[in-house]
Point group: C2
Chain length 456, copies 2
């Protein structure tokens, strides 16, 4: 397999430049003002697929942003790999914390800095380049399909239906995804579980207008104080979530399995140091890895109300709002959880405020078996390129569409992620090490090779 | 006193136009970008004093925004009235709730709509015009001094020291202020008590950067959730403030005095309807008027953290912040309360966050006796012009500088306010009825007359 390293070495600057052109398109799916950039990013992907050697590629409409589909079918008897990725990215605020502009990719300290450098432009683009490598060197051992969507960061609201409509076209033996991370730079890992998500927005309204806090303060309930009390009541001091029925369907993991998981390397001191907290805090009775891997959580993603500018303004605000999301574990249904949340949040609202609750999006969790062919092929590929066996890991993140694929297409996914915790995805100064980018391409080619061999 | 009404009638359009020119200057004291407008507003006041008939007027430096001083001394044997007002105004956000631009005054339904229309450009300017009326018609019965500052809305941080430096110049028998309100359009009132204020800003920091709420949610404390819990814990369900020592110095008002206060007209149904709340909520055991008049309060004036834009962003924020102010009653010292708050807020901070607390500003409460000459003169003036005796009222608002005047200048203040609750001061669509503007000028002239008579 020497041709793999050689081809990457000969083309590495071009690979990077092509990725940079993709990154420069500010395809933020949650902002309507960036609508046109979604199309530009989709067209760029279509061109990339064709340039890499696809027989055909198309920007296909969906109910939301378009999906780019491409394929190269070399032999119907060979296994088919369906690559999934997304061309949309997260918003960039707080913008002033970025060292360089988010859509002007820069290499510093061996890392690409930009929004999307990892999630998921950098990681998805490795697949385009691995595919190109196999085609151009005459080493493609499988049929390949690509499906690159533009709504992952807002919960893939249109892709489930789109998959329903194109089941035949999407037929594959495995779905290959790089949108997760590795435990550490030198410890490859394969994500075997993902959490689900229920993302809510709440609005608490007190008086019909902002009031003078002197003339009214003490006599009229302040919606910001009320919202704080309502949010505070959603979790107890032991980190349990206090929403009736919330834990009913949680898949309890056996002590044996937890003992097995506890063997994965984890250094709490380094973890705390990396994010600069004196202590971690979470659900009592679980380790940090368990708190994200096998337990649900509830986080305020944003909160706002009243005067937030410079200096003092003695206002009793009319409205206070928050975005609150819950990460879910297998067997928790995100629709049910969203309903439980809404019912509870309205039930705890006192008479002196009005409360609105809406569900912004959601997705189910996913568990991937470690005995399927694709897992074993990935295991071998990492062992080839990193020199050590990858660790199976349950991630705390959510890729809601992965469970949808299983339901709609009846196809399992293999999650070969090359990101690092320090990549700061969704944060200012998102980055992706060049090492991981090139090593990812190499490992993906090895995966195809083993997957074709083991599928014989 | 027919000349009063006549002069107002003849000059009413000009009075209004002059006020509008003052309002058009966006003199927001809490925003550094409006620094130059502070000077423009001060210069406008200087010109207004001179045009009205002052012997001299000057824009005088202070440690902050300048103070405008003017005077007309007609006879050292006559009593001297020192008029206090402020040329600065509150910020204007949320700007999209204004029907017309805040600094473009418009008359609709008999009311002036603009930031500062009431607080305090409209109310202070009545004094300039009342003074002009007395001078131009040859009816000035007292010596008059004006002191108009530009930092009232940020707590008058420089005026105390400035008064210390100009004690002799500011010598007066009474300080006359229009920066408060009336109970209702047909019920004149004199404010006999003001609450103090301690305005704090808090910052809760968790991880050193925004984190992905999937990868970290549940394992790392979320500062927005923590801030909600901390704020929630500051008050109990009965509306008591849970800060050790907070109530220690509160002046308890006797049941007899409370019974007397309860005679002031108050319609709870209309109160709730006006601000559109189903129920009011406040400290258990006290009426709505008592909750603002004789009891302290604690309000979140602003809260912010994490993603507050459109749509969903699954972020675990690094920082959450709030502006929290406490209204204080007589005998509570704002310095002590700010210290108690800071100490307590830091004490309740869990190990998994860092907490910063700063005091933005503060001021002491004030009580004005109803048996002083100025009160009796004001009582007569309102009775002349409104046809009924004014009601003495303890306001929930704060004018911190009023208690400073007493301490530094050893001079009492008389608070003749002509604003209405519906004026929406500090809110979008602030307004001031034309009736109140002209009636205020008339009543002020009557006050001077009675005050001079009664001081003989």
């Amino acid at each position: 397999m020497k041709f793999v390293k050689n081809y990457i070495e000969e083309n590495k600057d071009r690979f990077l430049n092509e990725l940079f052109d993709l990154i420069r398109i500010p395809s933020i799916s949650s902002l309507s003002e960036n609508k046109n950039d979604m199309l530009r990013a989709a067209e760029y992907w279509k061109k990339s697929m064709l340039d890499a050697g696809a027989d055909k590629a198309e920007v296909m409409p969906s109910d939301g942003n378009p999906v780019v589909f491409g394929e190269k079918m070399i032999d119907p008897k060979l296994p088919t790999v369906l690559v999934y990725g997304h061309y949309d990215v997260m918003p960039v605020d707080p913008i002033d914390l970025w060292t360089t502009a988010p859509f002007d990719p820069q290499v510093r300290d061996g890392k690409i800095f930009a929004r999307g450098a990892d999630d998921d432009k950098g990681q998805a683009f490795m697949h385009a380049k691995a595919f190109e490598l196999m085609v151009k060197t005459g080493n493609l051992p499988c049929n390949v399909k690509f499906m690159v969507e533009g709504e992952e960061e807002i919960g893939s609201p249109s892709l489930g239906k789109w998959c329903e409509q194109h089941k035949e076209m999407l037929k594959a033996d495995i779905i290959l995804v790089s949108d997760t991370g590795m435990i550490a730079p030198d410890i490859p890992s394969i994500t075997t579980g993902l959490r689900g998500l229920a993302f809510m927005e709440v609005k608490v309204t007190g008086p019909n207008r902002d009031l003078h806090s002197g003339l009214f303060g003490g006599a009229v309930a302040n919606p910001a104080n009320v919202l704080a009390k309502m949010i505070a009541s959603l979790t107890d001091d032991d980190g349990h979530i206090i929403i009736p029925g919330f834990y009913d369907d949680v898949l309890e993991v056996s002590l044996e399995e937890r003992a097995e998981m506890a063997k994965a390397p984890f250094n709490l001191d380094e973890y705390k140091k990396a994010i600069d907290v004196k202590e971690v805090h979470g659900e009592k009775g679980y380790s940090s890895s368990e708190r994200t891997g096998i337990r649900p959580s509830l986080d305020v993603n944003g909160i706002w109300g009243g005067y937030t500018g410079e200096g003092a303004k003695t206002v009793l605000p009319s409205v206070a709002q928050a975005k609150i999301s819950m990460r879910l574990v297998p067997h928790q249904d995100h629709h049910k959880i969203a309903e439980l949340f809404e019912k509870h949040f309205k039930a705890i609202a006192p008479d002196w405020v009005k409360v609105e609750v809406k569900s912004l999006h959601g997705g189910q969790g996913y568990v991937s078996p470690t005995d399927m062919t694709a897992y074993r092929a990935a295991d071998k590929a990492y062992t080839d390129t990193f020199g050590k066996k990858p660790v199976p890991v349950r991630s705390g993140g959510s890729i809601p569409i992965i469970s949808t694929f299983e339901q709609v297409l009846d196809t399992k996914s293999i999650l070969m992620g090359f990101g690092l915790e320090s990549d700061a995805i969704h944060s200012p100064n998102e980055n992706f090490p060049l090492f991981n980018f090139y090593k990812g391409i190499e490992t993906i080619v090895h995966f195809y090779h083993h997957f074709a061999e083991m599928s014989k």
